[in-house]
C-alpha cells in the first residue's frame, strides 16, 4: 500500500487543457473519491496516475518514487474500468489469474491467490464461467477481483459501478466500502455521483474544468463548500442560491433576497465579515435549512407554494419569494398542495455566502 502524490500536473489534449496545475497527496490506506461532471478531468487524472495517459508536465510519485516516466506495467497499481473490460475469451478464473501470469508465479501460489480473492468476493461458483454469462454485479466483482489479486500498491477505480442499475449500485457501493475497510488499500475512485462520493470517501476531491475545487472530508465539503460550484454540485436536492442585499442596523442584519422587499434577520456576528466585499453577494442555503410553518411566527415571511415533490421519507416544496424561488425540505404531507400560503424562515447558522464574481465562499472567523 502506498502514498500517491501529484505535483503541478498539467495535461493537454491538443490545445485543450484538461488538467490544470494539479497538486494532490493521497495518503497510505486512504479512500479518495474524485468527483465532478463528465469532462472535468477526473478520469484523465486517474489514467495519468495509472500510466495510461502521459502528463504534459508535472510529476507523479508513488511511495516517493517518481513514476510519471514509467510504463503502466511498472507502476504496480490496479485499475477497474467502468466497462469492467473482462477478457471475453477467458473464463472468470483466467481473468483473475491474468495479472499473476505477468509476474511468473508458481501454479500453486497463483491458484491459491485466485481462490482466496474469489472467496472474498463470493464468486467461487462462477470461476468456470465466461464473462458474457455473468450478471452486471458479478462482472464487477470479477473486475475488482482481477484488480486485487496482485495486491497492488493502489487501487484505481473509474466509475466502477456507473453501469449498474440503481439497486445493484447501492449493494456494490457498500461492498466496495467493506472491502476497503478490510483490506485497507489506498484507493482512488472516480465518479460523477455525489452519493457514491459521500458514502465511500475518506476525502473527496472535487474537480471542475480541470481545476481542483475543494479537497475535504465528505461533511466538510457538504457543510463548508469552498465555492459556489461545490455548493451547487454537492447535495441533493441542490442548494438554493440567490443574490442578496445586506442592510445593517443596530446589531442586526437584514438579508434581502432578490429584488423583493422580503428579508431575514441575521445576527450581526454572522455577517460582519461580508461588509468589505461590497456588492455581488450570493446566499446559499440548503433545502433542509429552509423551514416552513403553517402560521405566522416571528421572523417568518409569508410565501406561496408553487410545486411539491413527495419523496416518501420527506417532501421537497418549492416556494416563491418575490422574484426568486426556494426549495424547502419538509416532512411528508406537510403542505397539501400548490398555491397554499405558508411562512418561511432560513437558519442563519446554515447559511453560506459567496462572492458573486469569484464564486469563492465568504466565511468569517469561526
Amino acid at each position: 500500500m502506498a502514498q500517491i502524490e501529484l505535483k503541478n500536473v498539467q495535461k493537454f489534449f491538443g490545445p485543450v487543457q484538461v488538467i490544470k496545475d494539479m497538486n494532490l497527496t493521497i495518503n497510505d490506506g486512504e479512500f479518495v473519491v474524485m468527483l465532478g461532471q463528465s469532462g472535468c478531468g477526473k478520469t484523465t487524472t486517474l489514467r495519468a496516475i495509472a500510466g495510461l495517459e502521459t502528463v504534459t508536465s508535472g510529476e507523479i510519485f508513488i511511495d516517493g518514487v517518481a513514476v510519471h516516466e514509467k510504463k503502466a506495467a511498472d507502476r504496480d497499481i490496479a485499475f477497474v474500468f467502468q466497462s469492467f473490460s473482462l477478457y471475453p475469451h477467458m473464463n472468470v478464473y483466467e481473468n483473475i489469474a491474468f495479472p499473476l501470469r505477468a509476474v511468473g508465479m508458481s501454479n500453486a501460489e497463483r491458484d491459491k491467490a485466485v481462490k482466496e480473492v474469489a472467496e472474498i468476493l463470493q464468486i467461487t461458483a462462477l470461476l468456470d464461467r465466461r464473462p458474457s454469462a455473468l450478471a452486471g454485479g458479478d462482472m464487477q466483482r470479477v473486475a475488482i477481483g482481477r484488480a486485487l489479486v496482485r495486491r497492488p500498491k493502489a487501487l484505481l477505480m473509474d466509475e466502477p459501478i456507473g453501469a449498474l442499475d440503481a439497486k445493484l449500485r447501492e449493494e456494490m457501493r457498500s461492498e466496495i466500502k467493506r472491502l476497503h475497510i478490510s483490506r485497507g488499500s489506498t484507493s482512488v475512485y472516480v465518479t460523477h455521483d455525489q452519493i457514491e462520493a459521500m458514502s465511500l470517501a475518506d476525502r473527496i476531491v472535487i474537480m471542475h474544468d480541470g481545476l481542483l475545487q475543494q479537497i475535504g472530508a465528505p461533511d466538510e465539503v457538504y457543510l463548508k463548500p469552498a465555492n459556489l460550484f461545490v455548493a451547487e454540485f454537492v447535495g441533493s436536492p441542490v442548494m438554493n442560491v440567490a443574490d442578496v442585499v445586506l442592510e445593517t442596523s443596530g446589531g442586526q442584519t437584514r438579508v434581502r433576497l432578490g429584488r423583493g422587499d422580503a428579508g431575514f434577520h441575521f445576527p450581526a456576528g454572522l455577517t460582519n465579515h461580508l461588509r468589505e466585499t461590497g456588492a455581488g453577494i450570493a446566499l446559499g442555503i440548503r433545502p433542509e435549512a429552509v423551514s416552513l410553518q403553517h402560521d405566522a411566527k416571528d421572523g417568518y415571511i409569508p410565501v406561496e407554494t408553487t410545486n411539491i415533490e413527495p419523496l416518501g421519507s420527506h417532501d421537497i416544496v418549492d416556494i416563491r419569494l418575490g422574484d426568486i424561488s426556494l426549495r424547502a425540505r419538509t416532512e411528508s404531507g406537510f403542505v397539501s398542495g400548490e398555491g397554499q400560503q405558508v411562512w418561511v424562515k432560513i437558519d442563519p447558522a446554515q447559511a453560506h455566502f459567496f462572492d458573486r464574481s469569484s464564486g469563492l465562499a465568504l466565511r468569517g472567523q469561526s
Partner: protein
C-alpha cells in the same frame, strides 16, 4: 411478440426462404456441373441435353495426372488385359498413357502445379494477414501523422486493375530474377492482398475496446504481450474472414500466374486449361482439375466457419 406471427410476417418469411433457395440453386448448379463432369466418361460430357444419370468413373482423374497420346488403332486384347485398371480406362477413351524408357508412366504437371498453388496461396495469405493486422493495429491504436492520407494511399493501390501493370511487372521480375519463382508470386499476391487486409483488419480492431489492452497494460504486461494475449484472440473473427478472402484471391489468380510463371512456379489455374488436349477437347479432364482445385478453398472456409460467424466477443463489455 415472441411466437406469434402476423400473416404478413409469415408471408415475408416464406418469400425470403424461397429467395434463398433460388439463389442457392443458381450458385450450386455450376458446382454440380463441374463435379458431375469430372466423373463422366468423355463421350457423355458434351451430350445435348446433358446426361444427368450416368455411372461415375475416375478416368478423368487418371488422365489429369498422366501424359497421354492418341491411339490410332485399338490396342490388342493381350495388352489390354496386361495393363493396370487405370490404364485400361485410358484405353477405353481411345488414348494410351505415355511411358518413359524405363516403363514408368509419365506424370502430368498437375500435382506439382497444385502444390505450387498451395505453397504460394498459403504463404502469401499468411504474410498479407499478419502484416495487415500489425499495420491495422498501429493505425487503430496510435496517433499516426496523416493517418487518413496513409489509409487512402494504401487503398489506392487497389484502384488500378492489376493487369494494367502486368507487362512492366513482368519486365522488372525478369530483370531481378523473380520470374517463374515461388517467391515472386508470393510477393506479388502479398502486395496485392495487403491493402485489403489492412482495411478489413482496421475495421475489426477498431471494434475491440481499448480498455482490454489498457487492463493488460496496468496488469503488468507490455504492449506487445497485450497485443498477442488480448488483441489477437479478440480479432480472430476478423483474421479468419480476412484470411479467407486473401486465400481465395491468391488461389484463384490467373492473369499474373500465366504471365509471370511457365514451369517451375506455375500455379494450377494456368495449367488446367492447357490440359484440354489436342483434337477433340476433353472437358472431363478440365472438370477433374477444376473439381480438385475447388476443394482447398471449400475446406479452408469450412474449417474457419465458426470464426466467420461473429458473436463470440459480444456481451462481455458494458457500454
Amino acid at each position: 411478440m415472441a411466437g406469434i406471427r402476423t400473416r404478413q410476417e409469415v408471408f415475408f418469411n416464406r418469400a425470403a426462404i424461397a429467395g434463398v433457395m433460388v439463389a442457392l440453386f443458381i450458385m450450386l448448379v455450376p458446382i454440380y456441373w463441374i463435379t458431375s463432369t469430372a466423373f463422366k466418361p468423355r463421350n457423355l460430357a458434351t451430350t445435348i441435353p446433358p446426361t444427368v444419370i450416368f455411372t461415375p468413373e475416375i478416368s478423368p482423374f487418371v488422365k489429369l495426372f498422366t501424359k497421354r497420346s492418341q491411339l490410332r488403332d485399338p490396342v490388342s486384347q493381350e495388352i489390354y488385359d496386361a495393363a493396370p485398371w487405370w490404364e485400361q480406362m485410358v484405353f477405353d477413351g481411345g488414348q494410351k498413357v505415355v511411358r518413359s524408357n524405363k516403363g514408368v508412366v509419365r506424370r502430368s504437371g498437375y500435382g506439382q502445379r497444385f502444390v505450387n498453388s498451395l505453397i504460394i496461396a498459403i504463404t502469401s495469405t499468411f504474410l498479407a494477414v499478419s502484416m495487415g493486422t500489425l499495420t491495422a493495429y498501429g493505425f487503430s491504436r496510435f496517433k499516426v501523422k496523416g493517418e487518413d492520407d496513409w489509409m487512402f494511399f494504401i487503398l489506392s493501390t487497389r484502384m488500378l486493375p492489376p493487369v494494367v501493370v502486368a507487362i512492366p511487372m513482368f519486365l522488372m521480375y525478369r530483370l531481378v530474377g523473380l520470374h517463374d519463382t515461388h517467391i515472386g508470386l508470393i510477393i506479388l499476391y502479398t502486395a496485392f492482398n495487403l491493402s485489403f487486409s489492412v482495411w478489413l483488419m482496421k475495421g475489426f480492431i477498431d471494434e475491440i475496446p481499448r480498455e482490454y489492452e489498457e487492463a493488460a497494460l496496468v496488469d503488468g504486461y507490455t504492449r506487445m504481450q497485450a497485443f498477442f494475449k488480448i488483441v489477437l484472440p479478440e480479432a480472430m473473427t476478423g483474421i479468419a474472414a480476412t484470411a479467407v478472402f486473401c486465400f481465395i484471391t491468391a488461389w484463384n489468380e490467373y492473369a499474373f500466374a500465366l504471365i509471370m510463371t511457365n514451369r517451375r512456379a506455375q500455379t494450377a489455374p494456368p495449367f488446367i486449361p492447357s490440359q484440354i488436349g489436342s483434337g477433340l477437347p476433353d472437358w472431363t479432364v478440365i472438370a477433374a482439375g477444376t473439381f480438385l482445385f475447388l476443394l482447398p478453398v471449400a475446406i479452408f472456409t469450412f474449417l474457419l466457419r465458426n470464426h466467420l460467424l461473429r458473436g463470440m466477443s459480444f456481451g462481455a463489455i458494458r457500454k
